[in-house]
């Protein structure tokens, strides 16, 4: 099990929890992103995720390094799913382990906020009556204001 992955396989959180945890950790915070059945008044039927995989892996690794600088000693694992996802399936799973809960919660939140900013993955939404590519943030890993906004949200 690798700590960072982009995969078409069904995601599982438990192996990530085991991977990041050790006897010095008093806390593991986790996040699961799920495909929901609605978005801005649209009845969503499924999603298809596209990724520039080698670059997505590098961006995820960068995010984990950033988190380690903000919360030294935190151990992270993050897997992102690609391909066809049905309603209710997990699109991303994150586990963050630390000696204390505050760093674990913050690092976990930071990872999902940064994923939405700089990881080259795209959501193709299929809904009743049509389809649309979802376009969120213009990815710029050098944008320090965006990174600090992710830190602020992580610590909110």
């Amino acid at each position: 099990m690798k700590p960072i992955a982009v995969t078409a396989d069904v995601l599982e959180l438990e192996p990530l929890i085991r991977l990041v945890s050790n006897s010095g950790h008093g806390a593991v915070a986790t996040f699961i992103g799920l495909v929901r059945d609605n978005n801005v008044d649209r009845r969503v039927t499924h999603l298809v995720y596209d990724a520039y995989e080698p670059m997505a892996l590098k961006a995820l690794a960068q995010i984990c390094q950033e988190a380690d600088r903000e919360w030294p000693g935190v151990r992270l694992a993050v897997h992102h799913r690609v391909g066809h996802l049905a309603i209710g399936e997990a699109s991303i799973v994150i586990a963050a382990a630390s000696a204390h809960r505050s760093a674990a919660f913050a690092a976990c939140r930071y990872v999902i906020e940064r994923v939405k900013q700089i990881v080259p993955i795209w959501k193709h939404e299929f809904f009743q009556g049509g389809e649309a590519w979802i376009e969120g943030a213009t990815a710029n890993p050098e944008d320090e204001a965006a990174r600090l906004e992710a830190v602020r949200r992580a610590c909110a």
Binding site: G33, K116, P120, W122, W133
Partner: protein, 81 residues
């Protein structure tokens, strides 16, 4: 020289493929490659201010130079998670 162009999401839909091979002049930049694409696929023009670009799977500025055999990627705004 020749470069590989990788396109994703809506940009791939516009081009009809995610993988193109294009000729580039010596001294060309990522922006030159992009402008060639916009000439070929005018619908891409509206992404001018929102795309990110990469050379060989590392983020790169539009002013970065390209070399023979490079893989140049254009990334619409991302929506992972």
């Amino acid at each position: 020289m020749r470069v590989t162009v990788r396109l994703f999401a809506r940009l791939r839909d516009i081009a009809g493929t995610g993988d193109l091979s294009r000729e580039a002049q010596a001294g060309a930049t990522v922006r030159d490659v992009w402008q060639g694409l916009v000439t070929e696929f005018p619908e891409m023009a509206r992404y001018e201010s929102s795309i990110s670009s990469a050379v060989n799977a590392d983020y790169a500025r539009m002013t970065a130079g390209v070399s023979d055999g490079d893989e140049i990627a254009f990334l619409p705004p991302v929506s992972g998670g």
